[in-house]
Amino acid sequence: MIELTLQFLSFMASALLILIGIAGMLFLDNLIKKIIAFTLLSDGVNLALVSLGYFEGGVVAILTPGTSVAEFPQNAVLIFGPGIVLTNIVIGVSTTAVLVALTMVLYKRYGTLKASKVLKGERK
Amino acid sequence: MVMLFPMMGGEITPIVVGFAIGFLFGTQVYSNVSRRTVVMIICLCIVGASLFQAPVFTWSLIGGYITDGLSFAAPFISATIGILLGWAVRGGK
């Protein structure tokens, strides 16, 4: 039997977010909604990476006044995931900006936000 | 106050750097608000600085540390003053 810890629940939430993101990016017709689904997908991946390093009773991996030097390395959470996630968030922001800009250009040319109409190629 | 001197570098440098960056951004501020608003900004800034507390590893009066529970984020105050000064010097109405 799997224990319902916070780590397990976060993993499940991130799996759900990844599923929702993929489904939204594939099956929704609106371009803006596809972009929102993309941000949800990247949120899910970030959550999975962060919850990788967590364990019960850990401490934040930043030295604060009064920390015990000897116990800190054993108690601190794994710092590898957050280090990657910070980069991931940045890349998510710039990718979203480019996607929205391209969507605005598509709207200008086709007069619609529906991906199916854009794919048919009817100019406005 | 433990041993003032070796730590002074780490406490003064953020204040100076904050003031410089604030001045740089202040040169881009354009607004025509009254003098009362400026006074309000300074008051709000001191309140905010006491809310944020002094940065960790700040132990002397220069960094804004007074006692436990009462300390001011000195870079925040200096950044606000830098922005206002830069606005006064190079900014516009």
Binding site: Q7, F8, F11, L19, A23, F27, D29, A48, L52, F55, G58, I62, L63, G66, T67, V69, P73, Q74, A76, I79, F80, G83, L86, T87, V90, I91, V93, S94, A97, V98, A101, M104, S116 | M3, P6, M7, G9, G10, V17, G18, I21, G22, F25, Q28, V29, Y30, S31, T37, I41, L44, G48, F52, V56, F57, W59, A73, P75, F76, A79, I83
Partner: protein, 286 residues
């Protein structure tokens, strides 16, 4: 794909495919759950007493400096591509020649009666948000936060000003200013790798802190002049349980400032071009 195309067999296929993806992801996560090694890393365990306060930034800058270098590049490229796509340039190239660029109307949010009281409070909010961003970047070496956080806080201050004041944005960053600080930030970030490279052979080696000199077999010793230049202005005393340690953050604060400038330039440029467009009239007015 339209929703009505999903009825029938294609819908069943799509559902099965999604189910397979979900099961695969979930099984992988269940296997990972609780099976990750504790602690930070063997290297960190050995070196904890020589480490600087914020171990995240130590990781990022000592080990993964390249990664963040590319990240700063990515966000700058994002801004440039946004400018090219929305403003003139890419849109007016060859085969789409006869077409006008995207309408350049400025965002004029008429929030009905956004009255004087709101504006009376928005201006201090914008100024204090910018100051808070500067506080984050100056304290980055000793607490959570860093260059990117500072950049996004200042950029959100810019966005708030643009939304509530329209063209009379109090934090009125010009295009040239944004490009200048963005490029300066990236150059600062990249070039700060040079001292470490010249001395040890590793790009973006954290010179002031000098983590690895105590390891036997490390190729080079850092000259003390570099310690003085990069280390001493940020010298700190860490009062921990095991005693008082003197530490310095090395080049990490300078690198943070570079990244903050880069991010401010890039994200504010994205907002500027989304809101006002890239027309020449804007520059002539200002």
């Amino acid at each position: 794909m339209e929703m009505k195309e999903l009825r029938g067999s294609r819908g069943v296929l799509a559902a099965v495919a999604l189910l397979i993806i979900f099961i695969g992801v979930t099984v992988a996560f269940v296997q990972l759950n609780g099976n990750v090694a504790r602690g930070i890393s063997p290297e960190y365990n050995r070196l904890a007493h020589l480490q600087q306060p914020n171990s995240l930034s130590a990781w990022v800058y000592d080990w993964r400096g390249f990664d963040t270098l590319i990240e700063t590049g990515v966000i700058y490229v994002g801004a440039v591509v946004s400018v090219l796509v929305i403003g003139r340039g890419l849109v007016r190239m060859k085969q789409v020649e006869g077409e006008e660029p995207v309408p350049q109307t400025s965002l004029d949010l008429k929030i009905g009666s956004v009255n004087a009281i709101l504006k009376y409070f928005i201006f201090p909010l914008v100024i204090l948000l910018a100051a808070y961003g500067i506080l984050i970047v100056t304290g980055a070496a000793t607490s959570g936060g860093g260059g990117f956080q500072c950049g996004v806080v200042v950029a959100s201050a810019y966005l708030i000003g643009a939304v509530f004041f329209g063209k009379k944005n109090p934090l009125n960053f010009r295009r040239k200013f944004l490009i200048a600080i963005g490029s300066f930030g990236w150059a600062l970030y990249a070039l700060l790798g040079l001292p470490g490279y010249l001395v040890t052979g590793y790009w973006q080696y954290n010179v002031g802190t000098d983590l690895w000199s105590s390891i036997a077999g490390f190729p080079a010793q850092i000259p003390s002049i570099l310690h003085t230049i990069f280390g001493d202005p940020y010298r700190l005393a860490l009062v921990l349980k095991g005693g008082t340690f003197y530490s310095t953050a090395g080049i990490v604060p300078l690198i943070n400032i570079g990244e903050a400038f880069n991010v401010i330039g890039a994200i504010c440029l994205i907002f500027l071009v989304f809101i006002y467009g890239w027309s020449d009239t804007e520059e002539a007015k200002a």
